[in-house]
Symmetry: D3
Subunit: 132 residues, 6 copies
Amino acid sequence: MFSITVRDHIMIAHSFRGEVFGPAQRLHGATFVVDATFKRAALDDDNIVVDIGLASQQLNGILAEFNYRNLDDEAAFAGINTSTEALAQVIADRLADRVHAGALGEGARGLAGISVTLHESHIAWASYERTL
Amino acid sequence: MFSITVRDHIMIAHSFRGEVFGPAQRLHGATFVVDATFKRAALDDDNIVVDIGLASQQLNGILAEFNYRNLDDEAAFAGINTSTEALAQVIADRLADRVHAGALGEGARGLAGISVTLHESHIAWASYERTL
Amino acid sequence: MFSITVRDHIMIAHSFRGEVFGPAQRLHGATFVVDATFKRAALDDDNIVVDIGLASQQLNGILAEFNYRNLDDEAAFAGINTSTEALAQVIADRLADRVHAGALGEGARGLAGISVTLHESHIAWASYERTL
Amino acid sequence: MFSITVRDHIMIAHSFRGEVFGPAQRLHGATFVVDATFKRAALDDDNIVVDIGLASQQLNGILAEFNYRNLDDEAAFAGINTSTEALAQVIADRLADRVHAGALGEGARGLAGISVTLHESHIAWASYERTL
Amino acid sequence: MFSITVRDHIMIAHSFRGEVFGPAQRLHGATFVVDATFKRAALDDDNIVVDIGLASQQLNGILAEFNYRNLDDEAAFAGINTSTEALAQVIADRLADRVHAGALGEGARGLAGISVTLHESHIAWASYERTL
Amino acid sequence: MFSITVRDHIMIAHSFRGEVFGPAQRLHGATFVVDATFKRAALDDDNIVVDIGLASQQLNGILAEFNYRNLDDEAAFAGINTSTEALAQVIADRLADRVHAGALGEGARGLAGISVTLHESHIAWASYERTL
């Protein structure tokens, strides 16, 4: 199995609901360093997993919708906790939609899976992985 | 599949038995930067994998039993080589015990697996992963 | 010249005033990974720069006042832009106050300077350094 | 499942053929920081995955054939794009050959798989994993 | 003294002349992860060292002239060894020119110095620092 | 001012004397990731600070005397606390001796200074810098 990963980041505000979150129930924020990984069983005709330029561009496009925002005010997240792991899924699913729509190139239709990791600090990160 | 990872570290002394270890048969030491990863198929009611605060606390509690010690003097390791990979298993198994005992919260009973990585330097690390 | 550095982090929300900040004028947030460096010309009687345990504890105490907060609501920052470089100065000055108050031990009175670096992402950071 | 990973690096020149590569069609170069991971289900008699010294040595030997070279001039790569993911496979396959030839020790015959990751920058990397 | 740093990278081919370079006399290449640091004694009216957006943009513009190229073919480097430390100076000097030309904003005229670090691998890097 | 830095590491056991060290008074250990920096005002005839190959080799030679050892048993450290900052000085001074002895090449006699940083974990490091 092959994979390529590209890294970008977002800087957002949010708060959590639920006693388990302790002080993180207050409005605070995070830099999420985001790693998006694309997997496939065999390389395409160019000997690559996916066009790394397109992959970076599409990831950046998805992140731009969240960047420099208060996620508590975003309709897409109404009523849900925007935990690091939940955001990893949102980003992976949106990348999958773009793959299916052809935004990562025709060759990308051969991708087997996507995983997304969000680093919230030097000592904590979360991931979500799915098939395509 | 979702996962969250928390990082901590220990500073220990030890030695190895066996020609394969060369100069590491002498008493020496290591800083192990320890990453503990918790996996599950679906998020819990709070939209998380596990309470990251509890996860950090339990990992720290397990590491405290080794930290600032000479592992050659610990009864738990009598007669075995405390290689990086072997220590990864010990830590993963102890985390699993704590999950089963409810120390990571009731929700943590839904965890699917644990993996532990110990970084012994900037150029070498070892991991152990298991189901729960 | 000798130095020791300890690392910790905070997760905060804030916004900026001024056209130069572009989209960062909106309420957003950041994880700041904070490195505090203590410098001195000669080591103390214990052969150290400063008690690393006390240094970590005092840094953590200062950061606790900001952590999981919206800096826009903090009286200490009323009317000022809480840029990464400005926060580096605030943290360095508070560490200096604690050194002068004896909170880092009597030996710490021999410290020559402090510098603080805040990493706001994997591609941007800011520092402030001062004498003691 | 256990694993150990060792890190090394190479500095090479190369160019790509295919419109998808844009400016990377020109002769340019890369530092590849190479992580080689060895996996097995159970530890050997020395309580290790594989002799980490031998693993580092064999990886270094394989990389020495590429290091400080223009890959466009290497017979082994005639007519193929030496993408990061393609190079990961070449290195993994050569490590597998060495395992089968006994170069990583008799115990290494119990290895279950190998994966190789090449970091081409702080924001992009690629991997290939295979069974043994 | 305050500073801010922004990170970018280039991927280039080159070769060296001189016995001291050993195998690096052959055509090879490197990824240089480039950190550009801007220093000043006091913050400007916006409470910053320099507009981090402009700083990133100007650094990127300078690096674009080298990126995906064989430095041996560049007129700017005719007859000189493009060592990591020499490239750090070139980039710092070009940043200084842009500061003086006003490309980093009027406020940037208050900058005291610039330093540039190029990481050529995980185990080697070089820097050049200068006043403005 | 120019500089180049090379990285290596050691894995040692040791203990500390003095109440300030708390649990670190017990025999424990550390991986020290060691960064050695060489500074000079102007580049030499090869357009470099110092031969990076020789620099790495000499650093490795110095570290070999400590590696895989219990520092409490080394005559060189009898009666002193081998704190991270104290070890940084020992390594810097030994590098300086080798520079003066010509082991880093004739050109290295133009070096202005050396600094050594020892990373004892992902959250703590210490440095010593000196002139030549």
